[in-house]
Subunit: 480 residues, 2 copies
Amino acid sequence: MKQKAFVVLWALSVGLISGCQQLDNNSPQNATTPTIEANATINRQLAKQALNSTLAYDIVESLTVEVGPRLAGTEQDLIAVDWAVKKLTHLGFDKVYKEPVQVPVWLRGYASASITAPYPQPLVITALGGSVATPKEGITAPIIRFDDLQSLIEANAADVKGKIVFIDHKTERHRTAKGYVMTVGGRSKGAVEAAKKGAVAVVIRSIGTDHDRMAHTGMMRYQNDVVKIPAAAMSNPDADLINAMLKRQQPITLSLNLSSQNRGVATSYNVIAEVTGSTKPEEVVLISAHLDSWDEGTGAIDDGAGVAIVAAAGKLIQDLPQKPARTIRVVLYAAEELGLVGGKAYAKAHAQEMAKHYIATESDFGAGRIYQLDVKVNPEVVDKVLQEHALLSEVGVAPGNNNAYGGPDVSMLPKLGVPVASLRQDGTDYFDYHHTPNDTLDKIDPEALAQNVAVYAQFAYTMAQSTIDLRPLVQPKANQ
Amino acid sequence: MKQKAFVVLWALSVGLISGCQQLDNNSPQNATTPTIEANATINRQLAKQALNSTLAYDIVESLTVEVGPRLAGTEQDLIAVDWAVKKLTHLGFDKVYKEPVQVPVWLRGYASASITAPYPQPLVITALGGSVATPKEGITAPIIRFDDLQSLIEANAADVKGKIVFIDHKTERHRTAKGYVMTVGGRSKGAVEAAKKGAVAVVIRSIGTDHDRMAHTGMMRYQNDVVKIPAAAMSNPDADLINAMLKRQQPITLSLNLSSQNRGVATSYNVIAEVTGSTKPEEVVLISAHLDSWDEGTGAIDDGAGVAIVAAAGKLIQDLPQKPARTIRVVLYAAEELGLVGGKAYAKAHAQEMAKHYIATESDFGAGRIYQLDVKVNPEVVDKVLQEHALLSEVGVAPGNNNAYGGPDVSMLPKLGVPVASLRQDGTDYFDYHHTPNDTLDKIDPEALAQNVAVYAQFAYTMAQSTIDLRPLVQPKANQ
């Protein structure tokens, strides 16, 4: 309790000083009672500035060119942290700081696989994040194919024992992550379910919508009481190849060799920048992204785009002559890819502050245009909140529903009482590139990126000025 | 001369016997005077059968699945030769045989590269075919960038000496190979021109129109009097990355490591199948493709598609109740990728027979639809020849010009007096996949492939029946 009181007092004092400076220097207007018209004017101005600016593109170019791949827990990850601190400082935020996060260290090593019978051919594969290595000489075994994770779960252990499980679940293309959600269980839980039945390894059809001969990596998990078997993904064309072989002749024997290693933990950082609120500086509107990336691309769409969007949106608000009431906190999370590690660490480190988090959101779905605003707030105020964002329709965003997820690193906040929002991006192409070497700068459309900045800036400003009480998220049940 | 007479007699005897069998078994009609109407009926029937058949797709699936990558001079190449002999035999051609070809042996080994300064990042590269290795510890040197091969040729040696030359020539997208033709000189001649000025290695922007993080391989050449330096290609996104770095900070230092090896020669084979002509069996209509492929994809569009198209077209004619007058010779060349080796060997082995080659063509541009028929024949009969193929308009093919190239492996035939044709395919997407791991079966549209078979079958049948004299290719100059 002492600590909480201290934190609040600290935030208040810093915030008030900052707010006063703004009032003295820039605006004679009373910042506590902005009119609806004034907010609308500022909103339109933010959108216009965002749409005419290349700032976000410049930021993601800088990150992908000057840092590039930045797997959490590696040296490149710390280079990214330094880059972020310098970039946010250079942008002139009121505050820039970093908070340590303990992250797992996983090293990819090499990965190779080939069909050894009936038709010897090399395969294009990648180790799944967290996978153990094979023995040095590799694993050679017949494969057994399953349509999906559920079919594996329902299989007889006798059929699986000693084999390499092949989960062949195709990811459907949708504007949302619906296709990914249907197949990703095979990636995260395949090794555990296969090992339970005595399999010696698991290989999955990549969780991706493309036809490129690139495998999609991504995190997998083990369970303490189940033997750890190696896990890898193959490209979609390779999975097609195996199916064509299965039509011809069985069994198919596969040889797999991974040298990946789990190497304990390392320190990384959540990097945070703030535009201090003018009148309610202790209250936080949190806009976020994750700084880490997978190691095979340059982390442009996942999540350099998000980093650029929230940094550029924050910068636009930072540069306003009159800051909004609440603090805008830009959080660049550590190690999202390795299990929302930075998000969880933030929630823990800021547990005492949760009541002061007005609303939170994360941009982590590429750089496609935002088409809808969803929220998760007190059901009684949903319409009012969405109405408050009516100007977003001018940049192509429709009002959505009250089922927002918020984004991976803020997904744990609603159960701590924090309202969240999802600024929903068009992800039709996202899973073509996600977690592959193809996640590079050229996959970002600068105009779509600028639209994202416009929406984030308007959303953050509107929320930082709002007088609506967004809580509680769930209505107490009526007595019966 | 003796040999020639023997070959002609042999071809005649076999052809006549075959023709007689046909007459006895299948057709009371006089095969030497087919009517225009009868030809048109058979042409339309061939097209209909082709468009309703999956034979070509089945063939290219078989080749890519049961053989896969088949770099000339490797064990896989011989597996491909066996596959081809068996497949063509199974299809029931009148004759199937193979002719030995000495091919260079080049082994890819591993290839890696990275920027070491100012912003360390790994690059996605591939060794160019024929390249020597780097020293075991690799080569690390500053890069010097050139817009194209010509700029390198015009550069001062003092600026190039000791550096890694980076040729950054973007390949334009066209329906034809126009973009490729403009840039491929950097790939084939870059190492020689760079070495002449003292460069230690050459890396090029991939000769490809895609934005995938895949490098395009392909053949390069050395010159005996110029030092051999290693040569590699990087993906388009990697070339973009280097350009973005060059905007920021110079010099850029690159580290390159290749273990490729030139290992002498090996025996491969041109694989040949024939539909014996009914009345002029010694005269040959040659339709061809190349059997070898690069080693990183499965050789689906380059040139499994061509193999499937000409084999399926030949099979349709083989199955006609009445064979056409001339022999249809289906040639699957060896080692096209390593320098038209099979094509040159064929021209040499069949030198005495060139006068009996009525016309030749090769399918080696993927599986896009054919939109135009070009020929290279006696200029006085061009219109007549194109008119004879008027029915091709019913499957989307327009009459073209008299500047046909014919295809890589038949490109040396016109100077030996042999007429050629180009059945021009839509190659808009071809250089997205060509010579990359992405050259896989899924890149082939079965319907477009079937249209190719229809066109090849009609073309071959019409030419095998034609009474037009296509020679000489160039008119003798009039006396002045």
